[in-house]
């Protein structure tokens, strides 16, 4: 019965509230800019509108163009089900599920980038090239971070690594998880195409990364992409929140903690976006290599 309750909350919270994160971030940015900003629920309105709209397809495109949004959304959705959001209860959990998480995101990337190339547009080609290039640099630190947690928790299953882990990470080996936290925060910004890596609000196609890949998508397909992106932000946010907040003794108390944490991530994102300038494109790889090194130091600190 407990599992049923936990799993229902898991599904409702993740799938229902993921779009809210971006609304909060945008509100924060607006507050910093002295504007009123769009309503917190703006993404819900956008999604509702997009799912009712018709679409325009380029004559160049093939089935891959529609496969991109579908695969992107489905892989993110399954990843959400792999996350330990509260304690050790996870809808889907098995040995090696961190690898499943990483590779599902890879599958989404493969099809999103291919769908971009399907249009034959030079801008979308550019976006796809940047996306896969930065992913090559963002994935190793992510995996290294997972390995640090695997070593600390003596297990390779997310429900233990980030859920019920018996090892109190922060007291026993505080530096390593702290480095992983910084590294993962950088990865959150890259993977979700936020400032300083990519500006979701930029108006110039030449400088975009993620936005330019989906230039040609419209209607329900674009809605799927936006929702998939919201889920992806939720995934990385939740990983960070779970790393910071150890599980409480009563499982149900973890849910409000998670909500507070996610609120913090969304506001933090807004603060970062408001106070930082965008990096030059050529500097992004250096920054990601730094993330890799941080995770690497996290590994080294555990060598003793």
């Amino acid at each position: 019965m407990d599992t049923v309750i936990h799993n229902s909350i898991h599904v409702l919270l993740a799938f229902g509230l993921a779009p809210l994160l971006l609304g909060i971030t945008n509100k924060t940015k607006a507050a910093f800019g002295g504007r009123v900003g769009p309503p917190v629920l703006q993404l819900y309105y956008d999604l509702a509108k997009l799912f009712r709209k018709g679409s325009v397809f380029s004559t160049t495109t093939t089935w891959m163009f529609c496969a991109g949004p579908v695969v992107g959304l489905v892989t993110s959705a399954i990843c959400v089900l792999l996350l330990p959001l509260a304690g050790g209860s996870v809808p889907i959990s098995f040995l090696g599920d961190p690898i499943m998480l990483v590779y599902l995101l890879g599958l989404g990337r493969f099809f999103t980038a291919s769908a971009a190339l399907d249009t034959g547009s030079p801008f979308e080609g550019m976006g796809a090239a940047r996306e896969v290039t930065f992913a090559c640099l963002a994935e190793p630190p992510f995996v290294l971070g997972l390995l640090v947690l695997a070593r600390l928790s003596n297990s390779f299953q997310l429900s233990t690594m980030l859920g019920t882990s018996p090892a109190p990470y922060w007291s026993s080996a505080g530096a390593s998880p702290a480095l992983v936290l910084v590294s993962w925060s950088i990865i959150l910004l890259t993977e979700n195409c936020r400032i300083p890596f990519d500006d979701p609000n930029t108006h110039l196609e030449l400088t975009m990364i993620h936005e330019v890949m989906v230039l040609d998508h419209s209607g329900p397909a674009l809605g799927m992409i936006l929702y998939g992106a919201a889920l992806k932000l939720f995934i990385f946010g939740a990983l960070i929140v779970r790393l910071v907040f150890p599980p409480t003794s009563s499982g149900l108390l973890d849910w409000p903690l998670l909500a507070v944490g996610m609120l913090g991530v969304a506001i933090g994102l807004g603060i970062v976006e408001s106070t930082m300038a965008r990096l030059r494109l050529t500097q992004i790889p250096l920054f990601l290599v730094a993330a890799c090194l941080l995770s690497g130091f996290g590994v080294i600190l555990l060598l003793r």
Binding site: V56, T60, A67, I78, S114, L117, A129, P140, V143, V299
Partner: protein
């Protein structure tokens, strides 16, 4: 029973191309005979394997042979059986594919030669895998290697092909040289050429290390291990595509088989061997993929990916060696199973990719990726097969590459709980594997995007057409193999457990099984869930699109609507950032216009990633050796009297010396 069926299969494969030689140059009869014989032969062989797995039936066939030390000794075991599967499946599909791809009527001048040697090569591979005698092994090995040379040089009227064939021949002979030394030394150590495990402590550590080093050199050269890969890209790209598929899918795996077999014969290895193998594997994996990213030639790109996959296989093998040296059964089981399953997986998805690349080349008459584009419309089935192969080679779920990579990851994670050194090494190796995976995604998005998506970049790509039924059939069967492995790995677990038992006979009886170490049931379940969710998502999107309506228009070009195919992002621009990141290893040759005037005229840009090891190490050292040996030419007088004088002097010198 199994051995007899296998010998029948080997004989059928060997003779499959021979009737065609006697038949006319313009007749398809010989080709059909070859295909039927290959199918029957492979069918018999696979039946034999099933028989072996079900009833554990093995009756070695031993026939005396006149050669000193040699013996016709053929037997099957769990390890051989694993390597026989790709040999039979891939060569069978290669022959079927060839029916439409390399029709005798289209290639009257070399079709018969091709099939003659294709059959011999198949037979040679199958023979070496079941051989239990060093000489017989070398016999099969050379049969495979020499036939492969003639296959690479099928179109020997082209200079590029001759050069690739030449480099291959030099490389394969160098490898054989190492193997002759290996078996000679093995004979010196054990007193016989029979391939039986050496007793613990029967040879000195120095001898064991020499044997290992020779095996790593000889078999590594054949497997295309970096930096011994120099022959591989040229040979794979210049051979006809079904030959490339066989070379990449199966022949290079014979090097892996050799390594597995040699390690199974040697006593418990020291941990350093495992570290060496894993390091070489990580280097081959990452750099192989980086080189692949820089290629413009579709088949060269795939060839470099073979090096990358050999790297992944070696990562698994290295884990197993470490496990054996430390007495860790879990590492042995996960390492050997992951590695061997990746041998299967790579055989299937790489031959699938090479064959679909062959279809593309058949349709467009070019190997240049940047002359293709938009082929998914003209060749939808080939495009689908290429997507299946690409997703599989990137190790992504729900396809087979994921299963073997997951096993190898789990092995590395098992290392994490050990000592500091084990943790550091395991973490590094896992990060390397993750990097390999993302580089593969970049590489195959580039390949699929530039070849199949967008708009055709050349006239020949515009006139492309879907390929014939036999070609599509081969693609379909190989795709089905990829899906089958991905969705039913549980059924394969006993096969790999058996191979583990052969490879590490010192493993305790109660050692954990693969099923308990890897979540194979979850792989199946998640694969099923993923596929079902994808279908559901696509149906949902389709319903929404139908309900809301959709229109067709041109691609958004920021307001510019007269775009030509030339504005598309090319494959080299796609890979440019990554190639720049790896430029320390790839050393790309870039030729760009300099000092452009204010109003530039037509300019030229050219970029190319050659093979660093071949161009900067092997070729210079060979030409130096050539120069050195040319100094000896003064002795080459050309008249027989002088040579007799040399012999006379040499004899006198020997007599004096003794």
């Amino acid at each position: 029973m199994t051995e007899r069926l296998l010998l029948c299969a080997i004989a059928l494969a060997a003779v499959s191309g021979m009737p065609g030689v006697a038949l006319g140059r313009k007749s398809m009869a010989g080709q059909w005979i070859a295909a039927v014989l290959a199918i029957v032969g492979s069918g018999l062989g696979l039946a034999g394997l099933v028989f072996f797995w079900m009833f554990d039936d093995s009756q070695p066939v031993v026939i005396p042979w006149h050669l000193p030390g040699a013996e016709f000794n053929v037997a099957i075991d769990g390890l051989s059986a694993v390597f026989l599967v790709p040999i039979f499946v891939v060569t069978m599909m290669g022959q079927v594919y060839g029916l439409a791809y390399w029709k005798q009527t289209d290639y009257p001048q070399n079709g018969r030669k091709l099939r003659f040697f294709y059959g011999l090569m198949t037979a040679g591979m199958a023979l070496l895998v079941v051989a239990r005698n060093g000489i017989l092994f070398l016999f099969g090995w050379e049969m495979m290697a020499i036939s492969a040379f003639f296959l690479v040089a099928t179109e020997d009227e082209k200079p590029d092909v001759r050069e690739a064939g030449w480099i291959y021949l030099v490389a394969t002979h160098t490898a054989t040289l190492g193997l002759i030394a290996l078996f000679g030394l093995l004979h010196a150590a054990s007193g016989s050429y029979t391939l039986a495990p050496l007793a613990e402590g029967s040879i000195s550590p120095a001898m064991a290390t020499s044997l290992f080093a020779l095996a790593l050199f000889g078999f590594g050269l054949k497997a295309g291990l970096m930096p011994l890969h120099v022959w591989l890209p040229g040979a794979h790209s210049n051979a006809p595509s079904h030959v490339s598929a066989t070379m990449s899918g199966v022949i290079i795996k014979m090097g892996i088989y050799g390594l597995f077999r040699t390690l199974s014969l040697l006593p418990t290895p020291p941990i350093e061997w495992g570290v060496v193998i894993m390091t070489l594997g990580a280097i081959s994996g990452v750099l192989g993929m980086a080189f692949a990213l820089g290629q413009h030639d579709l088949k060269r790109l795939l060839a470099y990916c073979s090096i990358e996959n050999i790297g992944i296989i070696l990562l698994g093998l290295g884990l197993a060696v470490i496990g054996r040296s430390q007495g860790r059964a879990d590492l042995v089981v996960l390492g050997v199973s992951g590695s061997l399953l990746h041998v299967w997986n790579h055989a299937f998805f790489k031959s699938l990719l090479f064959l679909s690349a062959g279809s593309v080349i058949h349709a467009t008459h070019t190997r240049e990726i940047d002359s293709m584009g938009g082929l998914a419309k003209a060749m939808p089935w080939t495009a689908l097969a290429f997507v299946v192969g690409s997703v599989a080679i990137c190790g992504l779920p729900p396809l087979n590459g994921f299963v073997s990579e997951l096993m190898i990851y789990l092995g590395m994670v098992d290392l994490l709980q050990g000592s500091s050194a084990a943790f550091g090494g395991g973490a590094l190796a896992a990060a390397a594997l993750a990097l390999i995976g993302t580089l593969a995604v970049a590489c195959f998005v580039k390949a699929y995007g530039a070849v199949f998506l967008g708009v055709a970049r050349s006239q020949s790509a515009r006139q492309a057409h879907e390929s014939g039924l036999p070609m599509l059939l081969a693609l379909g069967v190989l795709s089905a193999c990829c899906f089958a492995i991905a969705l039913g790995p549980l059924a394969l677990a006993p096969i790999f457990d058996r191979a583990v038992a052969v490879w590490a006979p010192d493993l305790p009886e109660a050692a954990p099984r693969l099923v308990t170490l890897a979540p194979l049931n979850w792989v199946t379940l998640m694969g099923g869930v993923l596929i079902a969710a994808l279908i559901a998502g696509r149906l949902l999107l389709g319903a929404l699109l139908r309900h809301n309506g959709s229109t067709r228009s041109v691609t958004w070009g920021c307001g510019y609507s007269a775009a030509t195919p030339r504005v598309q992002y090319t494959s080299s621009s796609f890979a440019q950032m990554l190639v720049a990141l790896f430029s320390w290893a790839l050393r790309p040759q870039v030729e760009r216009p300099k000092n452009l005037p204010l109003f530039p005229r037509a300019a030229r840009f050219h970029s190319e990633v050659g093979d660093v090891v071949l161009d900067e190490a092997v070729l210079p050292s060979f030409s130096f050796a050539g120069w050195l040996f040319s100094r000896f030419r003064v002795f080459q007088q050309g008249n027989i009297q002088t040579y007799l004088l040399y012999i006379f002097i040499a004899l006198i010198a020997l007599l004096l010396w003794r």
